[in-house]
């Protein structure tokens, strides 16, 4: 039975991920008083791309072709081990703990960079170098965030952290949790590519993540896009399910029906967060490239203050 | 009660002087300042013969009385000197009235600091001296002067914040800030100890103790002569008064050793810096720093060391103020503070130059001036408590300072080409001469000082 839940989880993530991005784009356009694309537009794009032929640069190696598939594989694996639709560990969950999950995100990002560089395109190099320099600072913040909450609950299991946070208001309202929330939110902005770090336009002056898939076409591009949608979905789910709103995620004792119902509720929770992102995207302007490092410094400061708050208040 | 009003008379007179100076009537500021200072001096001398008064918010014992006397003497001489000096400053920042108001308030806050009973109020008084003296430094409106005034404000205020933390510690561990209660019984725990140590560091910033002395040469190099005089002569000793009270409350070995080490380091650094100076005002500023180091050593030793320290306070106040008055003279006729460019003073200003020569010797500790006697007392206590080696090291530094200052001053005064005209002195030299003579006469009053300080020795 539990294996069924794992399978449902992977399918859910793969199917629901483009929906979130579609909702965000449509909402942004509506806020700007335009009609905008339909919510299901990313699905149409993906289906169109799956029918097209993949063209590969002559100079590239098999890494270039395999990259997107490996990335989707990683994210699907992550979907199994993180608490997305359940608050109790599913059968494959013990294969990597929270910090391992963070490192898996880093591994997927690294493979993305390798396969992008492999195309020997200038834009890919541009995007890779910028993304790598930001990742140098983002990865420690992610690890610090995960460690801090792990220290609170004496474990590195995201499910246990969820249980701790939903059952004790002392930890939910503590300083550590507050600081970690804000730091994680700032990291989310960077990792999922929202303003003020990255805009949706194609200006090369500020492109970071958008410059990397410049040479992909056809099926490869479809898998690449699916991978990035899944990354957004998983990160937002972790943020909501483990940190911000750990309530309501079905525990071990609830039945199959509650899990299905929760899948819908989860989409609603995500929509709430997407609304916030859409508001950010339509009101804030983009940072100049080197100012992103100041942004990261503040995020790091907050994550560090979380750890200090834990030790000082202990 | 009417008899006890006498004890706050000095504060009262200087403060009234400040208030009256606000009136925009011509000449009232100068006459009022002169009368206020004369009355303060009279009441300070009268106070010397009154018994100690430790009641309410006041704590006036021998040390306070002697400090009040020093402040009053230097106050009077500064006011008299300012009367003529202010005419020669080129680029005044503000009107004469404001100068006198600030000067009177400054002196009033100093009188306040040495008379009150509460450590917190001593802190308030010392911080108030910073506030009122900051603008006095910037009397002459050029960029360097204002910059040095700003450095003074920031560095001293930061140091005083450290001593505010110290007062917090003291209050937290002892439950009271009143001096006479703390002298009777004080707690013996580590918090109190750390509080006193931090207090020494904090007030030491105000007194120009190493390593917090960095504002001192800048300020003295750039402020006008009467302001430098009153700074060196009384402001620094008032800060050391606070340190003396702290040591008096808790004479533990750690604290005395700490103060002694700081004092020795101050003397050493000041002596070494004096040798490389090219600006005579800065050189004399370092000489003040060296004397403050000696005073701190004396306070840390207690007994005859304390007597020597008080003797140095009084005589250094008078001698250093006369030195700075004379350098004001020199500055006003040569328009430069660079020692290389000033020479032949003995021919240009014979009276001032010869007085400067004698005063420079007095300030660096030549006999028969009182500073020498004070240093002798301190050395006797130092040898008795810590042996010959440390005393010899300190004597070595004092000798370096003596040679440096007098050589450079002598070069300024005595070398020069053949016929340089004698010039007219722009300011009153007699004030400086009077101060110097008083500094010499202080030697005769040492037995009286000893009887006054009986409860401390």
């Amino acid at each position: 039975m539990l294996y069924l839940y794992s399978f449902i989880e992977i399918v859910y993530v793969i199917l629901a991920a483009p929906l979130i991005t579609g909702v965000q784009r449509s909402l942004e356009e509506r806020i700007e008083s335009k009609q905008g694309p339909s919510i299901l537009q990313p699905y149409y794009d993906l289906i169109k791309l799956f029918h097209k032929e993949s063209i590969v640069p002559q100079i590239s190696s098999p890494v270039f072709r395999l990259g997107p598939y490996v990335i989707v594989m990683f994210y699907a694996f992550l979907a199994m081990i993180l608490p997305i639709i359940t608050a109790f560990p599913l059968p494959f969950a013990p294969s990597a703990d929270f910090i391992g999950g963070g490192l898996f995100f880093g591994a997927a990002a690294a493979i993305k960079k390798f396969s992008a560089i492999d195309s020997r395109s200038n834009y890919a190099h541009l995007g890779t170098s910028r993304s790598a320099s930001l990742a140098v600072f983002t990865e420690p913040i992610i690890v610090l965030i995960f460690i801090m909450l792990g220290v609170i609950s004496n474990t590195n299991n995201p499910f246990v952290i969820n249980n701790v946070l939903r059952s004790s208001p002392q930890w939910y309202f503590s300083l550590v949790h507050g600081f970690v929330l804000v730091a994680f939110f700032m990291v989310l902005i960077i990792e999922t590519g929202q303003l003020p770090v990255e805009s949706h336009s194609n200006g090369e002056l500020g492109m970071i993540d958008q410059a990397m898939p410049f040479e992909y076409t056809g099926t490869d591009l479809a898998m690449y896009k699916l991978g990035s949608y899944m990354k957004t979905f998983i990160l937002l789910s972790v943020f909501l399910n483990v940190y911000l709103i750990p309530f309501g995620v079905p525990m071990e004792s609830s039945g199959f029906l509650s899990i299905i119902i929760y899948m819908g509720i989860h989409l609603l929770k995500l929509t709430g967060l997407i609304v916030i992102f859409a508001l950010l995207n339509t009101t804030i302007s983009k940072f100049r490239l080197y100012k992103n490092f100041d942004f990261l410094a503040v995020a790091f400061a907050l994550a560090f203050l979380a750890s200090l708050a834990y030790y000082i208040v202990k | 009660m009417s008899q006890h009003i006498i004890y706050i008379l000095p504060i009262f007179f200087s403060f009234i002087g400040a208030v009256v100076c606000i009136l925009p009537v011509r000449f009232v500021d100068r006459t009022m300042s002169v009368t206020a200072s004369a009355l303060s001096l009279a009441s300070a001398v009268y106070l010397l013969f009154q018994p100690d008064y430790i009641e309410g918010y006041l704590y006036i014992d021998g040390l306070s009385k002697l400090l009040i006397l020093t402040i009053a003497l230097v106050y009077m001489s500064t006011v008299l000197y300012s009367l003529s000096y202010l005419k020669h400053i080129e680029n005044l920042l503000f009107q004469h009235r404001l100068y006198y108001i600030l000067l009177n308030i400054f002196v009033a806050t100093m009188f306040f600091s040495v008379s009150v009973d509460n450590l917190g109020l001593i802190w308030v008084g010392v911080e108030a001296t910073t506030v009122s003296s900051a603008l006095l430094i910037a009397t002459e409106n050029n960029q360097v002067t204002v910059e040095s005034a700003w450095r003074y404000v920031i560095i001293v205020s930061t140091g005083l914040v450290i001593s505010l933390i110290a007062i917090t510690f003291i209050y937290g561990s002892a439950g009271t800030l009143s001096l006479h209660e703390l002298l009777l019984h004080h707690p013996d725990n580590r918090v109190f100890l750390i509080g006193i140590l931090l207090g020494i560091v904090g007030f030491g910033t105000k007194a120009g103790i190493f390593p917090m002395h960095t504002w001192l040469p800048d300020v003295h190099g750039k402020a006008p002569a009467p302001v430098s005089a009153i700074f060196s002569a009384v402001l620094l000793p008032v800060a050391l008064y606070a340190i003396a009270r702290l040591i008096q409350i808790f004479p533990a070995h750690t604290i005395k050793l700490f103060a002694l080490v700081l004092g020795v380091l101050t003397v050493a650094v000041a002596a070494l810096m004096m040798t490389v100076q090219s600006n005579y005002k800065r050189m004399f500023a370092y000489s003040s720093m060296e004397n403050m180091g000696m005073i701190l050593i004396g306070f840390s030793l207690g007994g005859y060391g304390l007597l020597g320290a008080v003797v140095i306070i009084i005589s250094h106040g008078l001698a250093k103020s006369s030195v700075f008055f004379l350098t004001g003279d020199v500055l006003s006729i040569s328009h430069t503070t660079d020692m290389q460019k000033v020479n032949g003073l003995i021919q240009r200003l014979p009276r001032a130059a010869s007085t400067l020569f004698v005063a420079a010797m007095a300030v660096t500790g030549a006999p028969p001036f009182a500073i020498f006697v004070g240093e002798l007392f301190i050395f006797s206590a130092l040898i008795a408590q810590y042996g010959w080696l440390l005393a010899l090291v300190v004597i070595l530094f004092l000798a370096i300072a003596f040679i440096a200052v007098n050589f450079k001053t002598g070069k300024m005064i005595f070398t020069g080409k053949e016929n340089i005209k004698r010039e007219h002195s722009r300011t009153e030299t007699w004030v400086a001469i009077v101060n110097l003579v008083l500094s010499f006469l202080a030697v005769l009053f040492i037995p009286y000082f000893e009887t006054l300080l009986k409860n401390l020795l």
């Binding site: 790091f300 | 007062i167 209050y171």
Partner: protein, 218 residues
């Protein structure tokens, strides 16, 4: 109660971190006013916690709001308006360290303050989380050292004084009222005098540029 104090203390640390980040002087003044209000709130809560010293602490909180929260920022703002044509654009022209570097240095100082407190004073004072005022003090000294603009140095000094108020209230239970009142009066005088000095200093820097370093050495 203790938790609320810790939250306020950390909020102050974050505000001081923000002050370190900011460059425009007016924003730093506003942040300082906000942190003074937090100090006043802290004093009110302290008064509610200790019933026998209530009135004094409430009066002190009121004084803090009036002097540190309102008067001093207003005085500094007026001085800015008098000195510059476009006061909202006044900023630290040549920052000594970049934003990221100064934030990291601030964090290092907070950690150092925590370690020093834990290893030395905690065993003596026995108050948990008493290292927050020390961290504030160190951060404020970083503010003073790393800026050349005189207003920011002044604000750094005032933040130091705020840190001392926090220290005395949190760890020890407050200073006697007359001392606190004297401190506040002193601060007011200091700000007024400093505004005058800063006015002259900045206007002469504007006129001549800074070429005075050599005279103040040695």
């Amino acid at each position: 109660m203790n938790q609320i104090f810790e939250v306020l203390g950390f909020l102050l640390i974050v505000f001081t971190l923000l002050m370190q980040w900011e460059i425009h002087v007016q924003r730093i003044i506003i942040l300082f006013a906000a942190s003074s209000f937090i100090i006043a709130l802290f004093l009110v809560l302290l008064g509610l916690n200790r019933p026998h010293e209530e009135n004094m602490l409430f009066v002190l909180a009121g004084l803090t709001i009036v002097v540190r929260g309102i008067t001093i920022p207003v005085v500094m703002n007026k001085a800015l308006h008098r000195l510059y044509k476009k006061p909202w654009r006044v900023r630290e022209d040549k920052p000594m360290m970049g934003v990221g570097g100064s934030i990291l240095l601030s964090l290092v100082l907070i950690t150092i303050g925590y370690f020093i407190y834990q290893n030395s004073l905690y065993s003596v004072l026995k108050v948990r989380s008493g290292s927050v005022p020390f961290a504030l003090f160190l951060q404020a000294s970083l503010l003073i050292i790393s800026h050349k603009h005189a207003y920011i140095q002044m604000i750094g000094f005032l933040v130091m004084e705020n840190a001392v108020v926090m220290l005395s209230g949190w760890v020890f239970g407050g200073l006697p009222f007359i001392v606190e009142a004297g401190v506040i009066l002193d601060l007011l005088g200091l700000v007024v005098v400093s505004s005058l000095i800063i006015r002259v200093r900045e206007s002469s820097i504007l006129r001549e540029g800074d070429t005075y370093e050599s005279e103040l050495r040695g």
